[in-house]
Protein backbone atom coordinates (compact mmCIF):
# COMPACT_ATOMS: atom_id res chain seq x y z
CA UNK A 1 0.00 0.00 0.00
CA UNK A 2 1.31 3.44 -0.90
CA UNK A 3 2.10 5.88 1.91
CA UNK A 4 -0.41 8.54 2.92
CA UNK A 5 1.67 11.38 1.51
CA UNK A 6 4.79 10.60 -0.48
CA UNK A 7 7.27 13.30 -1.47
CA UNK A 8 10.07 12.60 -3.94
CA UNK A 9 12.92 14.87 -4.85
CA UNK A 10 10.85 18.01 -4.34
CA UNK A 11 12.43 21.25 -5.56
CA UNK A 12 11.26 24.83 -5.72
CA UNK A 13 13.32 27.68 -7.16
CA UNK A 14 12.50 31.35 -6.82
CA UNK A 15 14.48 33.50 -9.25
CA UNK A 16 17.56 31.35 -8.97
CA UNK A 17 17.25 30.78 -5.22
CA UNK A 18 16.70 27.17 -4.22
CA UNK A 19 14.05 27.59 -1.55
CA UNK A 20 13.55 23.82 -1.45
CA UNK A 21 16.34 21.70 -2.79
CA UNK A 22 15.45 18.12 -3.66
CA UNK A 23 13.86 16.75 -0.51
CA UNK A 24 12.13 13.37 -0.12
CA UNK A 25 10.08 11.98 2.75
CA UNK A 26 6.90 10.08 3.49
CA UNK A 27 4.10 10.91 5.92
CA UNK A 28 2.16 8.08 7.50
CA UNK A 29 -1.56 8.12 8.16
CA UNK A 30 -2.62 9.15 11.64
CA UNK A 31 0.76 10.62 12.62
CA UNK A 32 1.74 14.15 13.43
CA UNK A 33 4.57 15.10 11.11
CA UNK A 34 6.70 18.13 11.95
CA UNK A 35 8.82 20.31 9.69
CA UNK A 36 11.30 22.23 11.79
CA UNK A 37 13.78 24.86 10.94
CA UNK A 38 14.65 28.50 11.31
CA UNK A 39 12.89 31.24 9.35
CA UNK A 40 13.77 30.96 5.68
CA UNK A 41 14.65 27.27 5.87
CA UNK A 42 12.02 26.36 3.27
CA UNK A 43 9.34 25.01 5.64
CA UNK A 44 6.49 27.13 4.37
CA UNK A 45 7.42 26.61 0.72
CA UNK A 46 7.49 22.86 1.34
CA UNK A 47 4.20 22.78 3.16
CA UNK A 48 2.54 24.98 0.53
CA UNK A 49 3.61 22.56 -2.17
CA UNK A 50 2.13 19.73 -0.09
CA UNK A 51 -1.08 21.74 0.20
CA UNK A 52 -1.25 22.17 -3.56
CA UNK A 53 -1.02 25.96 -3.28
CA UNK A 54 2.45 26.26 -4.70
CA UNK A 55 3.69 24.45 -7.81
CA UNK A 56 6.96 22.53 -7.40
CA UNK A 57 9.73 23.34 -9.85
CA UNK A 58 10.35 19.60 -10.01
CA UNK A 59 9.64 16.46 -8.02
CA UNK A 60 6.46 14.60 -7.20
CA UNK A 61 3.89 14.60 -4.42
CA UNK A 62 1.46 11.68 -4.16
CA UNK A 63 -1.59 11.69 -1.90
CA UNK A 64 -2.67 8.10 -1.24
CA UNK A 65 -0.80 7.07 -4.36
CA UNK A 66 -2.23 9.73 -6.65
CA UNK A 67 -1.26 13.29 -7.62
CA UNK A 68 -2.95 16.08 -5.68
CA UNK A 69 -6.35 16.77 -7.18
CA UNK A 70 -10.00 17.25 -6.54
CA UNK A 71 -10.16 14.54 -3.89
CA UNK A 72 -7.22 16.04 -1.98
CA UNK A 73 -8.93 19.47 -2.00
CA UNK A 74 -12.02 17.94 -0.43
CA UNK A 75 -10.06 15.97 2.16
CA UNK A 76 -7.37 18.44 3.23
CA UNK A 77 -7.75 21.04 5.94
CA UNK A 78 -5.34 23.96 5.76
CA UNK A 79 -4.33 26.62 8.21
CA UNK A 80 -1.97 29.16 6.67
CA UNK A 81 0.58 31.19 8.53
CA UNK A 82 -1.27 34.39 7.73
CA UNK A 83 -4.82 34.49 6.49
CA UNK A 84 -7.09 37.44 6.20
CA UNK A 85 -10.71 36.70 6.87
CA UNK A 86 -13.53 38.48 5.22
CA UNK A 87 -14.28 41.69 7.11
CA UNK A 88 -17.64 42.58 8.60
CA UNK A 89 -18.87 39.03 9.03
CA UNK A 90 -19.06 37.15 12.30
CA UNK A 91 -17.26 34.01 13.42
CA UNK A 92 -20.40 31.97 12.91
CA UNK A 93 -21.01 33.39 9.42
CA UNK A 94 -17.39 32.73 8.48
CA UNK A 95 -17.70 29.09 9.50
CA UNK A 96 -20.93 28.78 7.57
CA UNK A 97 -19.39 30.26 4.45
CA UNK A 98 -16.53 27.76 4.52
CA UNK A 99 -18.88 24.91 5.37
CA UNK A 100 -20.87 25.61 2.21
CA UNK A 101 -17.76 25.16 0.11
CA UNK A 102 -17.28 21.47 0.95
CA UNK A 103 -19.27 18.37 0.09
CA UNK A 104 -18.67 16.69 3.45
CA UNK A 105 -18.61 18.72 6.68
CA UNK A 106 -18.65 18.44 10.46
CA UNK A 107 -21.83 19.74 12.13
CA UNK A 108 -21.08 23.31 13.22
CA UNK A 109 -22.03 22.81 16.90
CA UNK A 110 -19.39 20.05 17.20
CA UNK A 111 -16.79 22.23 15.56
CA UNK A 112 -17.62 25.21 17.75
CA UNK A 113 -17.35 23.02 20.82
CA UNK A 114 -14.11 21.33 19.87
CA UNK A 115 -12.36 24.61 19.03
CA UNK A 116 -13.90 26.51 21.99
CA UNK A 117 -15.46 29.21 19.81
CA UNK A 118 -18.69 29.44 21.81
CA UNK A 119 -17.82 32.64 23.65
CA UNK A 120 -17.34 34.83 20.61
CA UNK A 121 -19.52 33.32 17.88
CA UNK A 122 -21.25 36.58 17.03
CA UNK A 123 -18.15 38.72 17.09
CA UNK A 124 -16.87 40.42 13.95
CA UNK A 125 -13.75 38.57 12.82
CA UNK A 126 -11.78 41.81 12.95
CA UNK A 127 -12.24 42.03 16.70
CA UNK A 128 -10.76 38.70 17.75
CA UNK A 129 -7.71 38.29 19.94
CA UNK A 130 -4.68 36.41 18.58
CA UNK A 131 -5.63 33.16 20.27
CA UNK A 132 -9.30 33.41 19.26
CA UNK A 133 -8.31 34.08 15.70
CA UNK A 134 -6.00 31.06 15.55
CA UNK A 135 -8.76 28.87 16.98
CA UNK A 136 -11.16 30.13 14.31
CA UNK A 137 -8.57 29.46 11.59
CA UNK A 138 -8.12 25.97 12.98
CA UNK A 139 -11.89 25.47 12.95
CA UNK A 140 -11.96 26.55 9.29
CA UNK A 141 -9.25 23.99 8.56
CA UNK A 142 -11.39 21.32 10.25
CA UNK A 143 -14.73 22.30 8.74
CA UNK A 144 -14.59 19.63 6.02
CA UNK A 145 -13.72 16.83 8.47
CA UNK A 146 -10.33 16.48 6.76
CA UNK A 147 -8.14 13.39 6.56
CA UNK A 148 -5.03 15.53 6.78
CA UNK A 149 -4.54 18.89 8.45
CA UNK A 150 -1.77 21.33 7.61
CA UNK A 151 -0.75 23.77 10.33
CA UNK A 152 1.85 26.32 9.30
CA UNK A 153 3.43 27.90 12.39
CA UNK A 154 0.07 27.93 14.14
CA UNK A 155 1.23 29.40 17.44
CA UNK A 156 3.68 32.03 16.25
CA UNK A 157 2.88 35.28 18.00
CA UNK A 158 0.63 33.75 20.65
CA UNK A 159 1.25 34.23 24.36
CA UNK A 160 2.29 31.11 26.35
CA UNK A 161 -1.21 30.55 27.72
CA UNK A 162 -2.85 30.71 24.30
CA UNK A 163 -0.11 28.48 22.91
CA UNK A 164 -0.76 25.82 25.53
CA UNK A 165 -4.51 25.97 24.81
CA UNK A 166 -3.81 25.52 21.14
CA UNK A 167 -1.59 22.50 21.79
CA UNK A 168 -4.44 20.87 23.67
CA UNK A 169 -6.71 21.35 20.67
CA UNK A 170 -4.14 19.75 18.41
CA UNK A 171 -3.73 16.81 20.82
CA UNK A 172 -7.48 16.24 20.64
CA UNK A 173 -7.41 16.26 16.85
CA UNK A 174 -4.60 13.71 16.96
CA UNK A 175 -6.68 11.47 19.18
CA UNK A 176 -9.35 11.40 16.46
CA UNK A 177 -6.80 9.68 14.21
CA UNK A 178 -6.27 12.59 11.83
CA UNK A 179 -2.93 13.06 10.11
CA UNK A 180 -1.26 16.36 10.85
CA UNK A 181 1.53 18.22 9.09
CA UNK A 182 2.96 20.93 11.30
CA UNK A 183 5.67 23.49 10.72
CA UNK A 184 7.15 25.33 13.63
CA UNK A 185 10.28 26.93 14.91
CA UNK A 186 9.33 26.20 18.50
CA UNK A 187 11.13 23.04 19.51
CA UNK A 188 8.94 22.52 22.52
CA UNK A 189 5.90 22.54 20.27
CA UNK A 190 7.46 19.96 17.97
CA UNK A 191 8.52 17.81 20.89
CA UNK A 192 5.07 17.80 22.43
CA UNK A 193 3.00 17.30 19.32
CA UNK A 194 5.03 15.52 16.67
CA UNK A 195 5.54 11.79 16.18
CA UNK A 196 8.05 12.27 13.35
CA UNK A 197 10.08 15.29 12.46
CA UNK A 198 12.41 16.51 9.80
CA UNK A 199 14.73 19.40 10.46
CA UNK A 200 15.31 21.67 7.47
CA UNK A 201 17.93 24.27 6.78
CA UNK A 202 18.73 26.03 3.50
CA UNK A 203 16.04 24.03 1.70
CA UNK A 204 17.45 20.65 2.65
CA UNK A 205 16.71 18.02 5.25
CA UNK A 206 19.48 17.84 7.82
CA UNK A 207 17.93 15.35 10.26
CA UNK A 208 14.93 13.05 10.27
CA UNK A 209 13.26 10.68 12.79
CA UNK A 210 11.17 10.66 15.95
CA UNK A 211 12.13 13.43 18.39
CA UNK A 212 13.44 11.02 21.02
CA UNK A 213 15.39 8.93 18.54
CA UNK A 214 17.01 12.04 17.14
CA UNK A 215 18.02 13.25 20.56
CA UNK A 216 19.29 9.82 21.61
CA UNK A 217 21.27 9.55 18.41
CA UNK A 218 22.99 12.90 18.75
CA UNK A 219 23.28 13.22 22.51
CA UNK A 220 24.45 10.42 24.72
CA UNK A 221 24.65 12.66 27.77
CA UNK A 222 22.36 14.54 30.09
CA UNK A 223 23.29 17.91 31.54
CA UNK A 224 23.68 18.50 35.30
CA UNK A 225 23.47 22.10 36.43
CA UNK A 226 24.82 23.35 39.75
CA UNK A 227 25.25 26.86 41.14
CA UNK A 228 28.91 27.81 40.61
CA UNK A 229 29.13 29.06 44.21
CA UNK A 230 28.57 25.52 45.54
CA UNK A 231 31.39 24.16 43.47
CA UNK A 232 35.00 23.45 44.49
CA UNK A 233 37.74 25.07 42.49
CA UNK A 234 38.82 21.93 40.68
CA UNK A 235 37.34 18.52 40.25
CA UNK A 236 39.09 16.11 37.98
CA UNK A 237 37.34 13.45 35.87
CA UNK A 238 34.29 15.65 35.23
CA UNK A 239 33.58 17.17 31.85
CA UNK A 240 32.28 20.59 32.85
CA UNK A 241 31.81 24.11 31.64
CA UNK A 242 30.90 27.31 33.43
CA UNK A 243 28.10 29.39 31.98
CA UNK A 244 27.29 32.49 33.99
CA UNK A 245 26.80 31.55 37.64
CA UNK A 246 25.93 27.96 36.68
CA UNK A 247 28.25 25.04 36.16
CA UNK A 248 27.08 22.50 33.57
CA UNK A 249 28.39 18.95 33.70
CA UNK A 250 27.84 16.58 30.80
CA UNK A 251 27.25 13.05 31.94
CA UNK A 252 26.78 9.81 30.10
CA UNK A 253 26.43 7.85 33.36
CA UNK A 254 24.29 9.77 35.80
CA UNK A 255 24.79 7.39 38.77
CA UNK A 256 28.53 7.58 38.47
CA UNK A 257 28.60 11.36 38.18
CA UNK A 258 26.39 11.89 41.23
CA UNK A 259 28.40 9.46 43.32
CA UNK A 260 31.52 11.38 42.31
CA UNK A 261 29.93 14.71 43.30
CA UNK A 262 29.00 13.33 46.73
CA UNK A 263 32.58 12.14 47.23
CA UNK A 264 33.74 15.66 46.44
CA UNK A 265 31.27 16.90 49.09
CA UNK A 266 29.50 19.17 46.63
CA UNK A 267 26.10 20.28 47.91
CA UNK A 268 23.37 18.85 45.72
CA UNK A 269 20.70 21.20 47.09
CA UNK A 270 20.83 23.34 43.94
CA UNK A 271 21.17 20.45 41.47
CA UNK A 272 19.08 20.43 38.32
CA UNK A 273 19.16 17.85 35.58
CA UNK A 274 18.25 18.91 32.08
CA UNK A 275 17.64 16.77 29.01
CA UNK A 276 19.07 17.94 25.74
CA UNK A 277 16.41 19.67 23.69
CA UNK A 278 15.81 20.00 19.99
CA UNK A 279 17.28 23.49 20.31
CA UNK A 280 20.56 21.91 21.33
CA UNK A 281 20.24 19.48 18.47
CA UNK A 282 19.77 22.24 15.95
CA UNK A 283 22.72 24.09 17.37
CA UNK A 284 24.81 20.93 17.20
CA UNK A 285 23.78 20.24 13.59
CA UNK A 286 24.18 23.70 12.15
CA UNK A 287 26.27 25.64 14.62
CA UNK A 288 23.50 28.24 14.72
CA UNK A 289 20.74 29.13 17.10
CA UNK A 290 17.33 28.21 15.83
CA UNK A 291 15.46 31.42 16.51
CA UNK A 292 17.75 33.93 14.93
Amino acid sequence: MSPFLQVDNLTRHYQGVKAVDGISFAIERGRCFGLLGPNGAGKTTTVEMLEGINEPTSGTILYQGRPLGRRFRDEAGIMFQTTALQDYITVHETLKMFQQMYPRTIPLPDLIESCSLGDFLDRDTRKLSGGQRQRLLLAIALVNDPEVIFLDEPTTGLDPQARRNFWELVQRIKQQGKSIVLTTHYMEEAYRLCDDIIIMDHGQIIAQGTPDALLAKHFAEVVLQLPAADFPASCPELEMQVSGDLVEILSSDLNHTIRRLIELKVSLAGLRIRQHTLEDLFLALTGRELRT
Binding site: E51, A76, T82, Q86, D87, F98, M101
Partner: protein
Amino acid sequence: MSFRRFLAIMQARNKEFWRDRAALAWNFIFPIMVIGGFAVAFSGDGPDLYKVGITDAEEHQKLHFETIRYIQFIPVSDLSDAIVKVERHQLDMLISPSTRQFWINKSSPAGYLLERLLNGSDEGFRREAVEGEGIRYVDWLISGILAMNLMFSALFGVGFVIVRYRKNGMLKRIKATPVTAFEFITAQVASRLWLLLSVSALVFLCTDLVLDFRMYGSYLDLLIVFALGAICLISLGLLIAARLASEELAGGLLNAISWPMMFLSGVWFSLEGVNPWLVKLAQILPLTHVIDGARAIMIDGAGLMEIMPNLMALVAMTAVFLIIAARTFRWE
Protein backbone atom coordinates in the same frame (compact mmCIF):
# COMPACT_ATOMS: atom_id res chain seq x y z
CA MET B 1 -19.77 25.18 -11.16
CA SER B 2 -21.38 24.64 -7.79
CA PHE B 3 -24.23 27.02 -7.12
CA ARG B 4 -23.91 26.42 -3.38
CA ARG B 5 -20.29 27.60 -3.28
CA PHE B 6 -21.11 30.54 -5.57
CA LEU B 7 -23.92 31.56 -3.23
CA ALA B 8 -21.75 31.19 -0.11
CA ILE B 9 -19.17 33.65 -1.44
CA MET B 10 -21.72 36.04 -2.84
CA GLN B 11 -23.67 36.21 0.41
CA ALA B 12 -20.54 36.86 2.44
CA ARG B 13 -19.55 39.67 0.07
CA ASN B 14 -23.03 41.19 0.24
CA LYS B 15 -22.91 41.21 4.03
CA GLU B 16 -19.52 42.85 3.97
CA PHE B 17 -20.85 45.58 1.71
CA TRP B 18 -24.01 46.35 3.66
CA ARG B 19 -22.20 46.30 7.01
CA ASP B 20 -19.36 48.55 5.97
CA ARG B 21 -21.34 51.66 6.94
CA ALA B 22 -18.75 54.19 5.86
CA ALA B 23 -18.42 52.82 2.34
CA LEU B 24 -22.17 52.28 2.10
CA ALA B 25 -22.93 55.85 3.10
CA TRP B 26 -20.41 57.08 0.58
CA ASN B 27 -22.04 55.05 -2.19
CA PHE B 28 -25.39 56.70 -1.49
CA ILE B 29 -24.50 60.12 -0.25
CA PHE B 30 -21.88 61.08 -2.79
CA PRO B 31 -24.11 60.90 -5.89
CA ILE B 32 -27.04 62.49 -4.06
CA MET B 33 -24.82 65.34 -2.92
CA VAL B 34 -23.48 65.91 -6.42
CA ILE B 35 -26.92 65.86 -8.01
CA GLY B 36 -28.39 68.04 -5.27
CA GLY B 37 -25.52 70.48 -5.50
CA PHE B 38 -25.86 70.92 -9.22
CA ALA B 39 -29.63 71.19 -9.00
CA VAL B 40 -29.22 74.13 -6.65
CA ALA B 41 -26.31 75.70 -8.54
CA PHE B 42 -28.11 75.64 -11.88
CA SER B 43 -31.60 76.47 -10.69
CA GLY B 44 -33.27 79.78 -11.51
CA ASP B 45 -33.42 81.14 -15.03
CA GLY B 46 -29.85 80.45 -15.93
CA PRO B 47 -27.35 83.04 -17.16
CA ASP B 48 -28.74 86.43 -18.15
CA LEU B 49 -27.36 86.08 -21.64
CA TYR B 50 -29.96 85.10 -24.25
CA LYS B 51 -29.08 82.43 -26.76
CA VAL B 52 -30.34 82.84 -30.29
CA GLY B 53 -29.62 80.36 -33.03
CA ILE B 54 -29.19 81.86 -36.47
CA THR B 55 -29.12 80.06 -39.81
CA ASP B 56 -26.93 81.05 -42.73
CA ALA B 57 -25.06 83.30 -40.35
CA GLU B 58 -22.54 84.61 -42.85
CA GLU B 59 -24.67 84.95 -45.96
CA HIS B 60 -27.15 87.69 -45.23
CA GLN B 61 -27.40 91.39 -44.60
CA LYS B 62 -26.73 92.04 -40.96
CA LEU B 63 -29.93 92.55 -39.00
CA HIS B 64 -30.36 95.39 -36.51
CA PHE B 65 -31.38 92.70 -34.11
CA GLU B 66 -27.87 91.30 -34.22
CA THR B 67 -26.40 94.49 -32.86
CA ILE B 68 -28.25 94.20 -29.55
CA ARG B 69 -25.87 93.49 -26.70
CA TYR B 70 -26.18 90.60 -24.23
CA ILE B 71 -27.56 88.26 -26.83
CA GLN B 72 -25.34 85.41 -27.91
CA PHE B 73 -25.84 84.49 -31.55
CA ILE B 74 -25.03 80.87 -32.32
CA PRO B 75 -24.71 79.82 -35.97
CA VAL B 76 -26.71 76.67 -36.69
CA SER B 77 -26.41 74.44 -39.72
CA ASP B 78 -29.22 71.94 -39.19
CA LEU B 79 -32.58 73.61 -38.86
CA SER B 80 -34.51 70.65 -37.43
CA ASP B 81 -31.89 70.03 -34.73
CA ALA B 82 -32.04 73.67 -33.79
CA ILE B 83 -35.83 73.59 -33.53
CA VAL B 84 -35.57 70.69 -31.10
CA LYS B 85 -33.23 72.85 -29.04
CA VAL B 86 -35.85 75.59 -28.93
CA GLU B 87 -38.39 73.01 -27.76
CA ARG B 88 -36.05 72.08 -24.97
CA HIS B 89 -35.25 75.65 -24.00
CA GLN B 90 -31.63 75.09 -24.95
CA LEU B 91 -32.04 77.97 -27.42
CA ASP B 92 -34.26 80.91 -26.52
CA MET B 93 -34.92 81.71 -30.15
CA LEU B 94 -34.02 80.55 -33.61
CA ILE B 95 -34.09 82.91 -36.58
CA SER B 96 -33.71 82.28 -40.26
CA PRO B 97 -32.99 85.59 -42.03
CA SER B 98 -33.27 84.04 -45.51
CA THR B 99 -36.83 82.83 -45.02
CA ARG B 100 -37.75 85.62 -42.57
CA GLN B 101 -38.92 83.09 -39.98
CA PHE B 102 -38.28 82.83 -36.28
CA TRP B 103 -39.07 80.14 -33.73
CA ILE B 104 -39.71 80.59 -30.04
CA ASN B 105 -41.04 78.37 -27.30
CA LYS B 106 -44.52 79.38 -26.14
CA SER B 107 -43.67 78.73 -22.53
CA SER B 108 -40.39 80.63 -22.54
CA PRO B 109 -40.30 84.13 -21.02
CA ALA B 110 -37.00 84.76 -22.77
CA GLY B 111 -38.63 83.89 -26.06
CA TYR B 112 -41.34 86.45 -25.45
CA LEU B 113 -38.83 89.20 -24.70
CA LEU B 114 -36.69 88.33 -27.71
CA GLU B 115 -39.74 88.40 -29.96
CA ARG B 116 -40.49 91.95 -28.83
CA LEU B 117 -36.87 92.96 -29.40
CA LEU B 118 -36.83 91.43 -32.87
CA ASN B 119 -40.07 93.10 -33.89
CA GLY B 120 -38.73 96.41 -32.62
CA SER B 121 -35.54 96.25 -34.65
CA ASP B 122 -36.36 94.39 -37.86
CA GLU B 123 -39.57 93.94 -39.79
CA GLY B 124 -41.28 91.15 -41.64
CA PHE B 125 -40.38 88.11 -39.56
CA ARG B 126 -42.97 85.37 -39.24
CA ARG B 127 -43.43 83.76 -35.84
CA GLU B 128 -43.33 79.94 -35.54
CA ALA B 129 -44.23 78.83 -32.06
CA VAL B 130 -43.07 75.50 -30.71
CA GLU B 131 -43.83 73.76 -27.46
CA GLY B 132 -41.81 71.71 -25.08
CA GLU B 133 -40.61 71.55 -21.55
CA GLY B 134 -37.20 72.85 -20.77
CA ILE B 135 -34.44 70.41 -19.97
CA ARG B 136 -32.68 71.44 -16.82
CA TYR B 137 -29.02 70.67 -16.41
CA VAL B 138 -29.92 68.09 -13.75
CA ASP B 139 -32.15 66.22 -16.20
CA TRP B 140 -29.16 65.88 -18.42
CA LEU B 141 -26.72 65.29 -15.57
CA ILE B 142 -28.54 62.51 -13.69
CA SER B 143 -27.56 59.81 -16.22
CA GLY B 144 -23.97 60.94 -16.06
CA ILE B 145 -23.81 60.95 -12.26
CA LEU B 146 -25.47 57.55 -11.90
CA ALA B 147 -23.11 56.12 -14.51
CA MET B 148 -20.11 57.72 -12.86
CA ASN B 149 -21.09 56.25 -9.51
CA LEU B 150 -21.52 52.91 -11.23
CA MET B 151 -18.05 53.20 -12.68
CA PHE B 152 -16.29 54.04 -9.41
CA SER B 153 -18.18 51.41 -7.49
CA ALA B 154 -17.55 48.75 -10.12
CA LEU B 155 -13.87 49.47 -10.64
CA PHE B 156 -12.93 49.97 -7.01
CA GLY B 157 -15.49 47.64 -5.46
CA VAL B 158 -14.33 44.73 -7.57
CA GLY B 159 -10.88 45.60 -8.85
CA PHE B 160 -9.46 47.08 -5.69
CA VAL B 161 -11.13 44.54 -3.40
CA ILE B 162 -9.76 41.56 -5.31
CA VAL B 163 -6.27 43.01 -5.21
CA ARG B 164 -6.68 43.49 -1.45
CA TYR B 165 -7.92 39.91 -1.05
CA ARG B 166 -4.93 38.71 -3.00
CA LYS B 167 -2.48 40.74 -0.95
CA ASN B 168 -3.83 39.77 2.47
CA GLY B 169 -4.06 36.07 1.69
CA MET B 170 -7.83 35.75 1.46
CA LEU B 171 -7.63 34.56 -2.16
CA LYS B 172 -5.05 31.98 -1.14
CA ARG B 173 -7.40 30.73 1.56
CA ILE B 174 -10.21 30.38 -1.00
CA LYS B 175 -7.85 28.65 -3.41
CA ALA B 176 -7.21 25.99 -0.75
CA THR B 177 -10.92 25.08 -0.81
CA PRO B 178 -12.77 23.34 -3.65
CA VAL B 179 -13.98 26.75 -4.91
CA THR B 180 -12.95 27.36 -8.52
CA ALA B 181 -11.72 30.67 -9.89
CA PHE B 182 -14.82 30.86 -12.05
CA GLU B 183 -17.16 30.44 -9.07
CA PHE B 184 -15.26 33.01 -7.08
CA ILE B 185 -15.25 35.60 -9.86
CA THR B 186 -18.87 35.17 -10.88
CA ALA B 187 -19.86 35.49 -7.23
CA GLN B 188 -17.97 38.77 -6.98
CA VAL B 189 -19.56 40.04 -10.19
CA ALA B 190 -23.08 39.00 -9.19
CA SER B 191 -22.74 40.48 -5.73
CA ARG B 192 -21.47 43.80 -7.06
CA LEU B 193 -24.02 43.92 -9.88
CA TRP B 194 -26.90 43.44 -7.50
CA LEU B 195 -25.52 46.07 -5.14
CA LEU B 196 -24.81 48.57 -7.89
CA LEU B 197 -28.24 48.32 -9.40
CA SER B 198 -30.00 48.61 -6.07
CA VAL B 199 -27.89 51.58 -5.03
CA SER B 200 -28.43 53.29 -8.39
CA ALA B 201 -32.18 52.68 -8.26
CA LEU B 202 -32.37 54.08 -4.73
CA VAL B 203 -30.33 57.16 -5.61
CA PHE B 204 -32.52 57.72 -8.66
CA LEU B 205 -35.74 57.36 -6.67
CA CYS B 206 -34.58 59.62 -3.84
CA THR B 207 -33.44 62.43 -6.12
CA ASP B 208 -36.41 61.98 -8.47
CA LEU B 209 -38.80 62.63 -5.57
CA VAL B 210 -37.36 66.11 -5.21
CA LEU B 211 -36.21 66.99 -8.70
CA ASP B 212 -38.77 65.13 -10.84
CA PHE B 213 -36.48 64.25 -13.73
CA ARG B 214 -37.53 64.33 -17.31
CA MET B 215 -38.09 60.68 -18.25
CA TYR B 216 -39.52 60.03 -21.69
CA GLY B 217 -38.34 56.45 -22.18
CA SER B 218 -38.99 53.17 -20.41
CA TYR B 219 -37.61 52.41 -16.98
CA LEU B 220 -36.96 48.84 -18.04
CA ASP B 221 -34.79 50.04 -20.93
CA LEU B 222 -32.91 52.30 -18.56
CA LEU B 223 -32.32 49.35 -16.23
CA ILE B 224 -31.01 47.28 -19.14
CA VAL B 225 -28.54 49.99 -20.12
CA PHE B 226 -27.30 50.36 -16.56
CA ALA B 227 -27.08 46.59 -16.04
CA LEU B 228 -25.03 46.12 -19.22
CA GLY B 229 -22.89 49.08 -18.25
CA ALA B 230 -22.35 47.72 -14.75
CA ILE B 231 -21.33 44.30 -16.06
CA CYS B 232 -18.94 45.92 -18.52
CA LEU B 233 -17.30 48.13 -15.88
CA ILE B 234 -17.07 45.26 -13.38
CA SER B 235 -15.35 43.20 -16.08
CA LEU B 236 -12.90 46.05 -16.58
CA GLY B 237 -12.27 46.02 -12.83
CA LEU B 238 -11.63 42.26 -12.97
CA LEU B 239 -9.23 42.72 -15.83
CA ILE B 240 -7.17 45.20 -13.84
CA ALA B 241 -7.32 42.99 -10.73
CA ALA B 242 -6.45 39.82 -12.62
CA ARG B 243 -2.92 39.56 -11.31
CA LEU B 244 -1.88 42.69 -9.44
CA ALA B 245 -0.88 42.22 -5.81
CA SER B 246 -0.12 45.83 -4.91
CA GLU B 247 -2.98 47.97 -3.71
CA GLU B 248 -1.05 51.14 -4.51
CA LEU B 249 -0.45 50.12 -8.11
CA ALA B 250 -4.04 48.96 -8.49
CA GLY B 251 -5.30 52.23 -7.02
CA GLY B 252 -3.14 54.23 -9.41
CA LEU B 253 -4.24 52.23 -12.42
CA LEU B 254 -7.90 52.45 -11.47
CA ASN B 255 -7.59 56.21 -11.08
CA ALA B 256 -5.74 56.47 -14.39
CA ILE B 257 -8.68 54.76 -16.05
CA SER B 258 -11.58 56.29 -14.18
CA TRP B 259 -10.61 59.97 -14.29
CA PRO B 260 -10.23 60.27 -18.07
CA MET B 261 -13.48 58.34 -18.40
CA MET B 262 -15.18 60.78 -16.09
CA PHE B 263 -14.18 63.74 -18.25
CA LEU B 264 -14.27 62.24 -21.73
CA SER B 265 -17.49 60.26 -21.43
CA GLY B 266 -19.65 63.33 -21.01
CA VAL B 267 -20.60 63.01 -17.37
CA TRP B 268 -20.49 66.76 -16.73
CA PHE B 269 -20.63 68.42 -20.11
CA SER B 270 -21.50 67.48 -23.63
CA LEU B 271 -18.67 66.70 -26.00
CA GLU B 272 -20.43 68.54 -28.82
CA GLY B 273 -18.03 70.90 -30.45
CA VAL B 274 -14.83 69.61 -28.86
CA ASN B 275 -11.95 68.22 -30.90
CA PRO B 276 -13.32 65.37 -33.09
CA TRP B 277 -10.30 63.36 -32.09
CA LEU B 278 -11.50 63.40 -28.47
CA VAL B 279 -15.00 62.44 -29.54
CA LYS B 280 -13.55 59.40 -31.30
CA LEU B 281 -11.46 58.53 -28.28
CA ALA B 282 -14.56 58.69 -26.09
CA GLN B 283 -16.13 55.95 -28.20
CA ILE B 284 -13.71 53.36 -26.85
CA LEU B 285 -14.68 54.19 -23.26
CA PRO B 286 -17.49 52.01 -21.88
CA LEU B 287 -18.83 54.84 -19.76
CA THR B 288 -19.59 56.91 -22.90
CA HIS B 289 -21.97 54.24 -24.13
CA VAL B 290 -23.73 53.91 -20.79
CA ILE B 291 -24.27 57.66 -20.55
CA ASP B 292 -25.26 58.15 -24.20
CA GLY B 293 -27.72 55.28 -23.97
CA ALA B 294 -29.23 56.43 -20.70
CA ARG B 295 -29.58 60.03 -21.87
CA ALA B 296 -31.19 58.99 -25.12
CA ILE B 297 -33.77 57.01 -23.15
CA MET B 298 -34.47 59.63 -20.54
CA ILE B 299 -34.39 62.81 -22.63
CA ASP B 300 -35.33 61.69 -26.13
CA GLY B 301 -37.50 58.73 -25.16
CA ALA B 302 -35.36 56.41 -27.27
CA GLY B 303 -36.10 52.68 -27.34
CA LEU B 304 -33.58 49.84 -27.22
CA MET B 305 -33.39 49.67 -31.03
CA GLU B 306 -32.27 53.28 -31.25
CA ILE B 307 -29.45 52.80 -28.78
CA MET B 308 -28.45 49.40 -30.15
CA PRO B 309 -24.96 50.63 -31.19
CA ASN B 310 -24.29 51.62 -27.57
CA LEU B 311 -25.59 48.30 -26.25
CA MET B 312 -23.56 46.31 -28.77
CA ALA B 313 -20.43 48.28 -27.87
CA LEU B 314 -20.96 47.46 -24.19
CA VAL B 315 -21.50 43.77 -24.89
CA ALA B 316 -18.41 43.60 -27.10
CA MET B 317 -16.21 45.37 -24.55
CA THR B 318 -17.50 43.11 -21.77
CA ALA B 319 -16.58 40.04 -23.80
CA VAL B 320 -13.07 41.33 -24.46
CA PHE B 321 -12.48 42.31 -20.83
CA LEU B 322 -13.77 39.00 -19.47
CA ILE B 323 -11.77 36.85 -21.84
CA ILE B 324 -8.52 38.63 -21.03
CA ALA B 325 -9.33 38.68 -17.30
CA ALA B 326 -10.08 34.94 -17.22
CA ARG B 327 -6.87 34.14 -19.11
CA THR B 328 -4.63 36.22 -16.89
CA PHE B 329 -6.27 35.67 -13.49
CA ARG B 330 -3.95 34.47 -10.69
CA TRP B 331 -4.91 33.55 -7.15
CA GLU B 332 -1.55 34.72 -5.86
